[in-house]
């Protein structure tokens, strides 16, 4: 009965085995490999060209590891190369993707939130042009946050090539934070504010001036407790082509009857008032004006209060600002290069990000706010 015999090389079986093999291979080689991006020679070439040849290089670029095989140890390493950086050609434009502009995302981090990291990874700006910089305090809590963050980063940077960030820098800060307690009530006490914000300003400056490279076009300040932003945050903010621009920082919460609602969180973005000027003029040299405290009514125009929360609001509504908050803040790198930093001392009675806006103003840069464009702060 030869015609009942199964032939060994039946086509469906072959196809099936091939598919199985491929699938097996895929799983065997793990989720770390993304076929489409690995196959993209242009991306690989770009990544290779962008990597510095020596570990002594700006932190905004990846670098080639110096080979550490025993044979090489005998030979002295070649001296680092001479690198020219053409800062005349550096742009910070309203079309950053087309101009391949590099964005540096800087985060002073005290606590690690998975939502923060997930939100950051979801940013739609090409990741090959994003460098990340973190600074964490050397406290037990800071150690824990650093550990969690490192795990997340290391896993992510082994992922699909096209999704990897250009470089990631971890800094541990070299000064004690003003107060150990990160308890929200304690943190927001007025008496603690000045020293807390001075310490925060130093952390921001340390992070900024050591990680900003010669290729950076934009600096995006994003606090570690910003857990939700639009995916197109970078594109949206850059499209206004402003030197300094701040979205409105809100917070999601549940009302008493269990409904989801949003409320303003960051009150540091404001337009100045005569009352505030008057208050400042009576102050001692080292005293600072703080926003959002009943003890010190400034009658400034707060961006947080000007938000239109309905869906039809104009998301591109702009307002000029005199003080900015730092929870989310996009700055052209040139502003920082000219010297605008976060004063850890009373600068025109302002400190940290508010002092930054003032210093930028002294250097001829204006600050703008987007009252109807929201990012969301973690709710403690």
């Amino acid at each position: 009965m030869s015609y009942f015999r199964q032939t060994r090389s039946s086509r469906p079986a072959l196809a099936l085995s091939a598919v199985t093999l491929i699938v097996l291979l895929y799983f065997f080689l793990g989720p770390s490999v993304d076929v489409s991006s690995t196959l993209d020679p242009l991306l690989r070439a770009r990544k290779s060209a962008a990597a510095a040849s020596n570990p002594l290089s700006p932190p905004t670029s990846a670098f080639r590891k110096s080979r550490s095989s025993p044979g090489d140890a005998q030979q002295p390493l070649a001296p680092p190369p001479i690198v020219h950086y053409q800062l005349n050609n550096l742009t910070a434009s309203s079309n950053p993707i087309k101009n391949n502009e590099k964005v540096l995302v800087l985060t002073p981090l005290a606590r690690f939130y998975d939502e923060y990291w997930a939100n950051l990874c979801a940013l739609a700006y090409p990741h090959e042009h994003i460098s990340l910089g973190f600074i964490t305090p050397k406290t037990p809590q800071g150690n824990e946050a650093t550990k969690q963050l490192q795990e997340a980063v290391n896993a992510y940077q082994k992922g699909p090539l096209s999704q990897r960030f250009e470089s990631v820098t971890f800094l541990r800060q070299d000064f004690e934070p003003a107060i150990v307690s990160q308890d929200e009530k304690e943190r927001h006490k007025m008496a603690n504010q000045a020293s807390r914000r001075a310490s925060m300003a130093k952390a921001r400056n340390s992070l900024l001036f050591t990680t900003m490279g010669p290729t950076t076009s934009w600096v995006l300040w994003l606090d570690g407790d910003i857990i939700e932003t639009p995916e197109t945050l970078v594109q949206d903010l850059t499209s206004f082509d402003k030197s300094i621009i701040v979205p409105n920082c809100f917070q999601r919460y549940s009302t008493d009857d269990g409904k989801n609602a949003i409320r303003p969180y960051d009150y540091n973005s404001w337009r100045d008032s005569d009352t505030a000027h008057e208050l400042a003029s009576k102050m001692g040299n080292d005293e600072i004006l703080l926003e959002g405290y009943a003890e010190m009514p400034t009658y400034r125009t707060l961006m947080a209060m000007l938000a239109e929360t309905d869906d039809n609001s104009d998301k591109r509504r702009l307002m000029p600002l005199d003080g900015v908050g730092g929870t989310a803040l996009l700055v052209k790198a040139d502003v920082h290069r000219d010297g605008a930093m976060f004063p850890p001392f009373s600068f025109y009675h302002l400190i940290e990000t508010e002092g930054f806006a003032k210093m930028a103003r002294r250097l001829g840069y204006e600050s703008w706010g987007l009252p109807n464009y929201f990012v969301y702060h973690y709710n403690e």
Binding site: L14, I22, V33, A45, P80, F209, D338
Partner: protein, 478 residues
Amino acid sequence: MNRHGAYTNGYPASWRKDDDPYDPEGRNGPWIGNKEDIIDDEKDSWDHKWKGQRHPQSSRRKLFRNLGILAVAAILLFWFMSPTDSISWSSDSALAIELDEIETVRYYDLEDVQGSKHGWDREERVLLCTPLRDASMHLNMFFSHLRNLTYPHHLIDLAFLVSDSKDDTEENLQRHLEQLQNDPQAGMAYGEISIIHKDFGQAVGQDVESRHGFTAQAPRRKLMARARNWLLSASLRPTHSWVYWRDADVETCPFTVIEDLMAHDKDVIVPNVWRPLPDWLGGEQPYDLNSWQESETALGLAETLDEDAVIVEGYAEYATWRPHLAYLRDPYGDPDVEMELDGVGGVSILAKARVFRAGVHFPAFSFERHAETEGFGKMAKRMQYSVVGLPHYTIWHLYEPSVDDLKHMAEMEKEKQDREKQEADEKERMKKVKEEFKDISDQWSKDKQALQEEENQELQEKLQKVRDRAKPKDAEKN
């Protein structure tokens, strides 16, 4: 529908009769599942037509072929997906990337880079910043200083800012750096080398007069401040413990300057800066007047000035009565003596990197009525960092004559030339005089002689006459 065509007693409804014709496909036969029992749309799938046995050998060949294709596919797949990417898959070397060789994550503890007095022992890295503008002619001198620095070179990172240069600063710099980095002598090569190119446009001319004129100071200092900030922010790394600012036009400086300044363990420290002068100007002169201590007069003056005004030191317009580091120099004084300062000059500043990390920079705006390096000193003070100068530890700035000096020098040169010309003229005149008026003393003497001879002759003749007259008298007597 009853597909089985069976009666309830179990017998098939259409029992095959032995005499039915053989129908292997059972299509027309009364078998269970024959064609009539299948609904129309199922007919095709039921249509198993025996196509005859394939040749066993051809089937094996196909099997091998398929297996081959599969193997190739698997290899290709491995190739592309292999995480090590150890196989270069293009002849273009740029594409032959070994991605696992590229590191994207860096980790630094800033507590390790605080800066200590024994920096060289602790392998602390120093960033050496030098702004350059049309400085090509100074580079030879500057690089001879670099070669001689005794601080371990591999611990020093060099950063240059080349801005608004019309001469060949860039090419010259590149050539010098290549020589330095490829020097066969061990320990000559420096660490990271960054050259920042950025033009700021010129607020004022770079020639000495317009550079040092009073009205030009404020905009010029603000521009210089911007340049310094751009250089620093592009080259400061988390690995740096110290930052050393050094101008290219320093003529004489101890090779141990970095260690010497470091040993004081101050946040910001500057040496005294003088310059040599030609003898007619006194031989030497204080150069950098931007290092000073604040005075009550100056603080009072600052309050009266506009928000954007910049007090500059060393100009009669602002009489500040501040004690200057430069004027306190004693050539035989102890070089380790320190002096508290409020403003510093930029020729040679050693600062701990943590000062810059904390945000102290060179204000390109009027910060407490000061800009650039003086504002830097003020800001460092404001943030409670120590700012110190060494009055008796001197480095020497190159002497570039000012316009007045040049005028004076031109005058002196003219005087000298005049004098020389006068002397030459005198010589010439004498020569001419000598040539044109013949020396007649010979003739005179000849004439004199002739006259004398004549005279003598006359005398002789007279004598003879007298004798002759006397003779006859004598004869008469006889």
